[in-house]
Amino acid sequence: METLQLEKQETIAPLVTQVSGSVAVLEAMIAENVNEIFGYPGGAIMPIYDALYDYQNKLNHILVRHEQGAIHAAQGFARASGKTGIVFATSGPGATNLVTGLADAMIDSTPLVCITGQVFAHLLGTDAFQETDVINITTPVTKWNYQVTDATEIPAVLAKAFYIAASGRPGPVLIDITKNAQLQVFDYKGYTKCQHIRSYRPKPIVRKEYLEEAAKLINEAKKPFVIFGQGIILGSAEKEFTTFIEKGNLPAAWTIMGMSAIPTDHPLGVGMLGMHGNYGPNVLTNECDVLIAVGMRFDDRVTGRLDKYARQAKVIHLDIDPSEIDKNVKTTVPVWGDCKETLPMLTALLDKKDNSAWIERFAEFAREELNTCITPELNPESEELTMGEVIKTLNELTGGNAIVVTDVGQHQMVACRYTKYNSSKSNITSGGLGTMGFALPAAIGAKFGAPQRTVVAIIGDGGVQMTIQELGTIMQTGIAVKIMILNNQFLGMVRQWQELFMDKRYSFTDIKSPDFVKVADGYGIAGRKVSDRIDLAGAVKEMLDFDGSYLLEVMVGKENNVFPMVPQGCSVSEIRLK
């Protein structure tokens, strides 16, 4: 198949050229300013890969070791860069391996466009080799999906895919392209970006009367409390949000996904919400009189027991997705819309106010938490290392300028509690789905998405073994990712629950690990293992200073617990400090 070099046509009359469906796919990528594609070839997507052979100077394809790695890498890329992540995979097992990542991207609103190959259209439904019903498998975990059986559909369908993935509340889109459509040569009339779909309204219309009502509530409030999520980051509204809280002097707490939208040491930032969040924001949720939720979705890990959640408060909910309003928490005033638009409108209506007495309440709780939880974690007296002090050491050496990618479990909670962030899009974690194995591939993607920044993946000894094959991707691409394994020789979070709620019956949480440094060495990746406090800072520095990828395994206390904790089924005000 000959690739036609399509130079940018500035002329009005579209130049009709004969191209294959595969070339049309790649031309769409170029028109959408795609640079990185994370993928893995296979039978049913071979025509696209064949076309890609001639596009190597325009598109950077990163060969992963497993399709799940490809999609998590694309997620990390999207979260670090703010752009849409691209995945190529083949039919059948290639496509089904994407499902976890799709579900993760769906629940964490990450824009992705995934292209899967499919068997020839005439074979659909015949149980052909590597045929699965990808469209129906992925329907619940995609914002939109579509099967292309005819190449002429490709430009318009991909334009739609890019538009849907990134607009409104972002999400993953999957396009399944049958092999005949990839091979089919058709009259290509160029690529036009999609700007509008009549059945799709990404941004609800902003209703002024609600903004006025919301402003009135905030101005009259004695104990206003802002809680915010990833909506701020996705809407690039960090500045607008900071102006909003600063004008009203509003204390603000972040969800795990909203973290890094404002610097963690911002004077109005009062910490993290949720099960392992900070003491003050959890307890005071049930004391505030007006709760202002911005771009967050009241996940059960944030709210705890719903019937005891902020019952005393009037709730203002700003969200771009109308289906989030009243989904979990009844709203007094709904503010539909893109927070980049609604926040400035709301800020304009706010009175300048001094809430210092109320903000002091958060500080009181913070002091108590510092004494009971934080100091013992960050400056332990025990011989064993704690996860917290590893993070503290990392903060001291990065100054809070690194992108920190975390996996799922205890290390994730500790990292999110203690990592210092100076800038947005710096905390990349699997929040909603809680996907172990997310961090290693996501960190690879994040580094491609923000090559000028240091990317540190913090992973548990359990999670890293779920996608450890992606060390191969690091090896082949030479990408510089710093990997920190916090090894407590347990599946720590489950063990913590077993200890606290199941009489220490440690059922299958005692996990054996290989010699991670040797494994890294096998992949040509430098590494080191430390278990003594005296070596920690030097080892972290060595990792950060190393030119290239580096794996640092830190042996930490086996049976440490993450506190504070809101036990399941309890109210946020019943948060335990120990």
């Binding site: 020839f120 914002k143 059986t149």
Partner: protein, 196 residues
């Protein structure tokens, strides 16, 4: 909150796979769909789903928002029984000799507003349209006479105070008309294509 019967009306693009996308919104929450009908509308290229479920209003409102969130859905409404005019259609197959001998067919037809669609030597097919009670009434009347087969259609409903979908659609359209449905045209070419 009490559960009640709600009729959900969904205006959509005509897209393959959309039925599944809508159906899984119910099945994901383990909600049974009592009746589901798809049909064209007064607007070309716009399709209409009529779905009946028994749930609380709170749940129905959330379901509608989830449905409306789907890219290919134009609009979703929900209504109680009082707010709609609705009909269901039913067909009944009975042995002709039984009917002819034992019941006065005319009486049945009048009483249930039914009509005979097919009359053959071996069987007769009646048809009636109405509410659930009415179509169920004729089953009871025919059961003693060897009802062979019965089928009832999904509900179709018109919202009493709706002014149609034309106006609403115009506001969505801007420059984008509905897209043509592309079906798989290669399915019948199996023998002619060489594959690898």
């Amino acid at each position: 909150m009490n559960k009640a019967e709600y009729t959900i009306t969904v205006y959509t693009e005509n897209q393959i796979g959309l039925l599944n996308r809508i159906a899984i919104i119910f099945s994901r929450r383990k909600i049974n769909v009592d009746s589901l009908n798809t049909s064209p509308t007064e607007v070309e290229s716009v399709h209409r789903f009529t779905i009946v479920i028994i749930e609380t209003e709170d749940v129905v409102r959330k379901l509608c928002r989830q449905i409306e969130k789907q890219v290919d859905v134009l609009k979703a409404f929900y209504n109680t029984e009082e707010e709609i005019v609705w009909q269901e259609m039913a067909l009944y197959k009975v042995p002709t000799d039984e009917i002819a001998e034992k019941v006065k067919v005319e009486r049945l037809l009048r009483e249930y507003g039914a009509r005979a669609v097919v009359i053959r030597k071996d069987y007769t097919v009646f048809e009636t349209t109405g509410h659930r009670e009415e179509t169920a009434g004729l089953i009871r009347a025919l059961e003693p006479f060897g009802l062979i087969e019965f089928v009832r259609s999904a509900r179709i409903a018109i919202i009493k105070d709706s002014s149609g979908f034309h106006e609403k659609l115009k506001s969505y359209e801007l420059a984008a008309p509905g897209e043509e449905l592309v079906e798989n045209e290669f399915l019948n070419q199996q023998d002619e294509v060489f594959t690898m």
